[in-house]
Symmetry: C2
Subunit: 634 residues, 2 copies
């Protein structure tokens, strides 16, 4: 039955209060809110090492110091967001914090940055996941983009259906990823110590054949490597936005979760840097068929290409895809917040049905697909655009917190102010470095997109204000010049849908016109005969006004224009009366039958509304096609 | 203004008779109807040579005999289609010829085969064009799929806008392609003769490093190479379908055009085979970064990589993209033919506006994009699916012609029958060879898709028959049980759209209900006050029935379900009266403003029609937002 279409495609509706049903503790909170941050370990170090590639083996010596700076920045972020959590227990996303404390424009800036960040997170997550897959199954190398789009389609479909994530679906891959990677790192460190710093890889990995003198070590290349490595920090802000999801004491639990996530991420980043350096693992060119991701080389060097290798790579792949999945929850949610403030179409706002998320999900899918296609599904090419959105949001959020403490504390919160201020400055410096270092490689795109988003937000708000002003009605109902409407029934042939339309027309008015657009002389002649016997006869017998069949000839087989012209003439001749056009519609039993009918009805309605004026009203009279043969539906 | 949206996006409408405006002669007919066939020379020989690759240099010796068989088949097709042209001067597409002579089922089979063929023609044309591009600009090699999708998007956009092809746009690339390639071939043959059969390439080309003993020459590999080479014949049928486009004498001109096309194609195929053999040019692996197309290697071997090379490759690229473009004209046209016989949704049939082609174009784009993504944009992987559709259509069309001569001639047309019969048998044999040789590589997909299409056609026809039967009305208009409708006005707040809806409701009936879905206590209280002063007051003063504001509480902020429930109760309490629901709609000045409003109205209408029954009618009352500030629109 029709109802089942939406349910089948998109799942049963969710009541608003359902969201509150599942409260989580620290153990379940880590995968739920930390997945995005933890998965960054899979591409952050790799993108830094790719930049260092021209330095040859010498470049590996710099991964240590660069990682140290990134870890220090991560620590500052931890303390800074700890405070956001306690200050905004109801959820302190960057949009909210920046809007409330820095003003709506800064809020919109943060919102635009985050929306872009979510789109990139989908693209980068999937591209990096496919990178891991291709490392394990080199035969897939020619199909990178195809596999990326396939996974994107799958994730989008799952989200359109609505995932009622059991937590378990997130927990298993996250902990699998964390534990297997930690095991690899521990074994790697152990082997390094045993071999006095010179471990022998179990499985050899490809080494790029570059002369070490290919490039000189400059500040520039180190800054660019740092900028790329900063992508490892994306996703850390998620906990601050989800405090309300924790069991009491929510703030304590959220802070513990944040601490755990940052600690695990830190250990992973440090461990990867150390072991990669010890084994001498360098990045490989993603375009070459011998491409392997850093993690793939690292795991096979430490543990060989056995079953454990495939389990670990499986963990990496699933965590990266799920991390893309988190954007599918966050993107529509942020759109809804922004729409509630009139900066995005209200269609984003309605939360009555799962279905309304469709819009956000579709837009996110479209943009991510575009990014993947433009950049060929290669993580490395997407990285320059990434991190900018995240760091802009970090900075605005921390800066907003500084103002928050200043306003609410009267000097009592100097310590808090200092920590958030430090966070704001540190992320702002990182943001500038990323922007400068990556500008030519793609960051310039970001500097166009984010302001463009903000502009759209402001335009939308202006338009809503304008329409609200124009439809404002501070006067009583106008009951002057009330006239019976003229009803027009377009007639294609004499069938039950026409009969029903005519009946409804007669029930609402005594002034009914029947119009036929004549494209075929034979059909028209036939209809005239039918009309006289089946319509005019009974009307006369019932003592009602006659309804002659008015035929508008259309030699070029056009349907809409002659009809629109007919309506125009009718309006001109009846300047005071409202005009109602009856459009019969067939409603099918099965959704897949819909394309078989109604196209003409839909076009006619659209044409009438576009060419009409306020006096023309469109009436859809449905006719239900019954599912079984024989009897007609009620 | 609203009208301009569709015009701007899709061009101004075309009158039906415009199609007849442009009649062409032979010179203009060759590019118009021969583009598809001629461009096949760019991928046919290449795909045969790719199959021969494992044989090493020895494989080159077989390209001659294989080409000879293909040329013979081409000659048979020429004589066969010459007759179709004279027998069906009004246009003898395979669908028409097979339907009329073999019966509708065979017609549908031919139609399904052709539709698939058009989709593949788009994919193969673009993939081969990008193959040429990548040969000239190897830096694009990692982006093959991206470039393919980009070109597809472009071609689709141009077609959605509607191309009023001036002929010139087709003629220049076609003749550029033909002439430059012929020049290359003549120089190549000349150099071969001068060097006694051992010309030295100007620019060396990559030679695959295969041991010549890698494979033995078997019948199997030769059959597979022949099957791949047969793709060079696709598109030859186009002239027979476009006879009506020629100036008088149409049949003579069409036959001359077909002759010219077949002659040029034959010369190109023979020339490519001869020169490639003389220079020892073999196919290269499309997955390897050193990939070059056969034509690219051939041109650079004969003439070097100078400006002439780039002009010739430019001709190849544009002809292949335009050949994809021809499918965009043929696919919707065939869909319309099939829809006219009730086998496809009628939406395909309407030719009133350019816009209706949108459906066919969108579907074609979607399917081609899918094919390109699944097969990674590599011509060689798409080839096994190609040609089957074309050869199935060839066979059915020729077989249909045999019946045609038998029926109409009473023995006078034995000669005609023989030629078409020979054509049918030759193409049938080729079809079987292609099917068997390519089955495992992808032809099996075709054997599923074509019958699936036919099944869909038959299902659609059955459904139309069923609906026509159910809506049949061979009785007079029923005027019993006529009741005034109950009109329901959903109220969000008191504004001009509500006022207008209420006015229309009062004009059509005296029984009006106003319903508010209460999601926010404050808003509801506010509305109640406004309602009493602005609505109930004036109604009382005018002596009309009171319309109290009925509030349905919705604690979970749902809008549709409570409203649908309200309507259900109303229906139950008033079993005889029709119920009309007024849905106010904002019509925007600019199309891009549409997404800002009306989402709720659209959902409400859909929900009402899906959950309603024949008694519930939906009335769209438009409110036009005026383009300028200050005054409100009329």
């Amino acid at each position: 039955m029709p109802r089942s279409l939406t349910d089948w495609l998109f799942g049963t509706p969710l009541a608003s209060q359902d969201e509150e049903d599942q409260k989580v503790g620290v153990f379940a909170g880590i995968p739920m809110l930390g997945l995005d941050a933890l998965s960054s370990a899979a591409y952050g170090p790799e993108s830094a090492l790719t930049i260092l590639l021209p330095l040859g083996m010498m470049g590996l010596n710099y991964i240590g110091p660069i990682s140290a700076v990134i870890l220090a920045l991560l620590l500052v972020l931890y303390f800074s967001y700890r405070q956001t959590i306690s200050a905004y227990p109801g959820g302190g996303g960057s949009y909210t914090v920046a809007s409330e404390n820095l003003g709506p424009k800064f809020g919109l800036l943060a919102g635009a940055a985050l929306l872009l960040d979510y789109v990139l997170n989908v693209a980068v997550g999937i591209a990096a996941g496919v990178g891991a897959l291709v490392s394990a199954v080199p035969a897939l190398h020619p199909h990178i983009l195809g596999v990326c789009l396939l996974i994107l389609g799958l994730v989008a479909f799952v989200n359109l259906r609505g995932t009622r994530e059991s937590g378990l679906a997130f927990a298993i891959p996250t902990y699998l990823f964390t534990v297997t990677l930690l095991v690899v790192l521990v074994i790697g460190i152990w082997k390094t110590i045993l071999s006095h710093g010179h471990p022998i890889p179990v499985t050899p990995f490809p080494t790029p054949s570059l002369s070490p003198s290919a490039a000189t070590v400059g500040m520039w290349i180190l800054l660019r490597a740092f900028a790329s490595g900063c992508t490892a920090m994306t996703g850390v802000e998620a906990v601050s936005n989800g405090v309300s999801a924790f069991t009491a004491p929510a703030v304590r639990n959220a802070q513990k979760t944040l601490g755990a996530i940052v600690a695990i991420l830190g250990v992973l980043l440090a461990g990867i840097a150390y072991v990669a350096h010890a084994y001498g693992i360098m990045a490989t060119d993603p375009d070459s068929p011998s491409y392997q991701s850093i993690l793939s080389m690292l795991i096979s060097a430490v543990c060989g290409r056995g079953i454990f290798y495939y389990i670990t790579i499986g963990g990496v792949l699933s965590v990266l895809c799920l991390s893309a999945n988190t954007s599918f929850a966050d993107f529509p949610r942020l759109c809804r917040l922004i729409a509630r403030d009139d900066y995005l179409p209200h269609a984003f706002e309605n939360r009555g049905r799962r279905l309304v998320y469709t819009l956000g999900i579709s837009i996110l899918t479209l943009f991510s697909a575009l990014l993947l296609i433009v950049f060929g599904g290669i993580t490395d090419r997407l990285i320059p655009l990434f991190a900018i959105g995240a760091f802009l949001a970090f900075t605005l959020s921390q800066a907003g917190m500084v103002i928050h403490w200043k306003r609410n504390g009267e000097g009592r919160h100097r310590g808090h102010m200092f920590i958030n201020g430090l966070g704001a400055i540190a992320t702002a410096v990182a943001l500038v470095i990323i922007l400068v270092a990556k500008f030519a490689e793609g960051a310039w795109i970001t500097t166009l997109i984010v302001p463009a988003f903000v502009l759209v937000f402001l335009k939308v708000r202006t338009h809503y204000g304008y329409v609200a002003n124009e439809t404002k009605c501070a006067r009583p109902l106008d009951l002057s010049a009330m006239h019976e409407p003229i009803v027009v029934v377009p007639v294609k042939c004499w069938d039950t849908t026409t009969e029903k339309g005519l009946r409804f027309a007669l029930q609402m008015s005594s002034q009914v016109h029947a119009v036929h657009i004549g494209t075929d002389a034979e059909i028209t002649a036939n209809l005239r005969t039918n009309w006289d016997t089946y319509v005019r006869g009974p009307l006369k017998a019932d003592g009602r006004n006659d309804i002659p069949l008015e035929v508008v000839e259309s030699p070029y087989r056009r349907l809409f224009n002659p009809f629109i012209n007919y309506i125009s003439v009718l309006k001109r001749n009846n300047p005071d009366q409202p005009i109602a056009v009856i459009v019969p519609e067939l409603i099918e039993t099965h959704w897949y039958q819909y394309p078989l009918h109604n196209q003409r009805a839909a076009w006619l309605k659209a044409a009438l509304l576009l060419h009409g004026d306020r006096r023309v009203v469109v009436i859809s009279v449905p006719w239900y096609v019954s599912p079984d043969t024989g009897t007609s539906g009620k």
